[in-house]
Amino acid sequence: MKTCRYESQIDKYLLGKLDASGSAEFEEHYFNCGSCFAKLTERDEVIGVLKRNKSVFVAEERPVIEARKAAWLDRATAFFTPRQWVLAGAAAALLVAVLTVTPLFRNAPPVFVLNGEDTVRGSSLTLISPVIDIGSVPAYFEWRSLGADMEYQVSIYNGKLLWKTTTRDSRLSLPDNVKALMIAGNKYSWQVKAFSPQGTLIAVSSRVQFTINH
């Protein structure tokens, strides 16, 4: 909407802040500008009421003083115009709504079930030997003990499971029939799982590779 350039003079005129020539110029203008005259009479009525009726501000005197204390808040709110604050608020509300509602439409969280590869506690199971390439078929397999009454499940692989057994020691000698299956020059790996006396899986070692050299 186009506004008249004299509109800014309305308050100054009504509050007597224009000099004589400024007043005369503005008076001549509102004799010729219906829009300015309409605004002038409206404003005059409001200012007249405000001037005569201080009671509308009674609750004001205190906030005006308090406003100085809360000047930082005003400066913060002055950063945006009211319309911009409304838009920012709407955007924030939309974001909150999206973040709140979206999880409701997600798939149900997965149910974690322990299988043979999972551990209940974070105990680590360290393999001691063999962990590097060796010159002949290993006579035994050894790992760090996790305490008494533990049962260990030892698995040896050559791409697929070659042999699996359980023991309560932390050292295992290979039977001859298994040794016979292990051929020089081939690559093997082994892994140990520890179980509590109640049969709960406690720890799983990493799968370590070794090669039997010629």
């Binding site: 004799f31 005059d44 001037k51 201080k54 406003a67």
Partner: protein, 166 residues
């Protein structure tokens, strides 16, 4: 429709300019001055006569023509009054009761509208209109930029106007 030889519609002229002339006279003489309405009527009559006599030749706008007559008549009236007041006291105003009731109702509605404003709008009206502080001083007191003062004043006036229309 009453027209003269210059083509000015006098009925329309009176309808349009009586409020403007009245406002200017009331502003100059003060609303409490009892004869401001008489002065305004005299001015309108004078304008009509001058237009009928062809004194308005269209060299300026009709608004400027009426403004000039109004200003001169106000000055004359003040001069006359100054002479009279040396000898006799000003009579007490005798306002129209109907107009007074209407004005009071409107004033009450404006007051209610102002009271219903948020404190930040009331305080800016208080400092700017009641205390008549300059915009920059209001801005300083409220800790906001000067342009924000103007925005708040204008917005408060819009809200009052909107409330008045309900």
């Amino acid at each position: 429709m009453t027209e003269n030889k210059t083509g000015v519609d006098l009925d329309e002229l009176v309808l349009k300019y009586r409020p403007v002339v009245s406002f200017r006279v009331r502003k100059a003489l003060g609303g409490a001055t009892p004869d401001w309405e008489d002065v305004a009527d005299e001015i309108i009559t004078q304008v009509i006569e001058k237009v009928r006599k062809g004194e308005f030749r269209g060299e300026s706008s009709i608004g400027t023509f009426i403004y000039t007559i109004t200003s001169r008549r106000i000055v004359d009236h003040i001069r006359e009054k100054t002479k009279i007041l040396r000898h006799a006291p000003e009579p007490a105003p005798f306002p129209d009761p109907g107009e007074m009731v209407e004005a009071q109702e409107r004033a009450a509605r404006i007051s209610e509208a102002v009271k219903g404003l948020k404190p930040k709008f009331r305080e800016v009206l208080y400092l700017y209109y009641y205390k008549e502080l300059p915009r920059e001083e209001v801005a300083k007191q409220l800790g906001i930029p000067p342009r924000r003062v103007s925005e708040r004043v204008n917005y408060a006036l819009k809200l009052i106007k909107k409330d008045m229309k309900r």
